[in-house]
Amino acid sequence: MLTEFSHVFAFLILAALFVAGGLVTSKFLRPRNPNKFKLASYECGEDTIGGAWVKFNIRYYVVALIFILFDVEILFLFPWAMVFKPMGWFAVAEMFTFIGILVVGYVYVWAKGDLDWARPKPFVARLRDVVDTRSRDLQFTDAERKYSAHTVT
């Protein structure tokens, strides 16, 4: 007796076999000669400087967490979408309160600014940041400091 679920089960097995088959056959057929260079990590032809396992800024972790949270929320919508018609208005109201609570959390996180990415902090170097202009500032008048008659503002 093939229950409803057995179709899904057969599908799962076929998928697993299909993927494993692809991997296994290519494992046998491909040439294989690893060496020290090939196993080294690739960084544009250079050897890497310092590790990549560094403590990066916390905001990237927070954004990832929030994403997972809303991802799981969508997960709950799937089974609900299958059955909410026979269950009538109660299920709809139930789900929207669930979504409502999460939206409140979303608004809070957004307002707190945890979602904004690393903003660039552009630093436009003036001449005095770049070279020693002490003696120049003394001798040049303000008008002359706009050094060149050719400058177009």
Binding site: L29, R32, N33, F37, A40, Y42, G45, E46
Partner: protein
């Protein structure tokens, strides 16, 4: 078009009946045909030949017709076209990049500089006199810079080499019509 008739499709060799296992030899032909029809090139230009390589991959000469797709990383590329002068400082990096390519890998040395040092052979104290001193080269394309058609010709030569690569055992000589 002159180039297209070089490309024979993998017809099952009828004269191979009775010799060894038909499936095995046809498998080799199938692999060769699939490899030579999708040679993924590592997008890696050194000097003036790189501009000619860019013209070859632009719409006028279009190297992508032959399945050569530029891939940025050596992990996904089959052929590395050394287009330009290989300096001593660059040679160690090229060796690293060549080793990091996935097997089977092929090398086209494009231009006189990577063939033998080119115009810098005599006084180039920082120029490597030929990339074959560092990595094994499959096809040399002469010219300084070689015309895009010359590079396509070099690619055809590489495809022929791949096609005839696996059957270089003795009995294969007669099948080369």
């Amino acid at each position: 078009m002159g180039f297209l008739d070089h490309l024979e499709l993998p017809v099952l060799p009828s004269d191979k009946t009775g010799e060894g296992n038909i499936i095995v030899t046809s498998l080799d032909t199938l692999f060769d045909w699939s490899r030579l029809s999708s040679l993924w090139q590592m997008s890696f230009g050194l000097a003036c030949c790189a501009i000619e390589m860019m013209s070859t991959s632009a719409s006028h000469y279009d190297i992508m017709r032959f399945g050569v797709i530029p891939r940025p990383s050596p992990r996904q590329s089959d052929v590395i076209i050394i287009s330009g002068t290989v300096t001593l400082k660059m040679a160690t990096r090229i060796k690293m990049l060549y080793e990091q390519m996935a097997d089977p890998k092929y090398v086209i040395s494009m231009g006189n500089c990577s063939n033998c040092g080119g115009p810098y052979w005599e006084y180039g104290y920082h120029v490597l006199k030929g990339v074959d001193r560092v990595i094994p080269v499959d096809v040399y394309v002469p010219g300084c810079p070689p015309r895009p058609e010359a590079l396509l010709e070099g690619l055809m030569k590489l495809q022929e080499k791949i096609r005839s690569q696996n059957h270089d055992d003795a009995d294969d000589a007669d099948s080369q019509d």
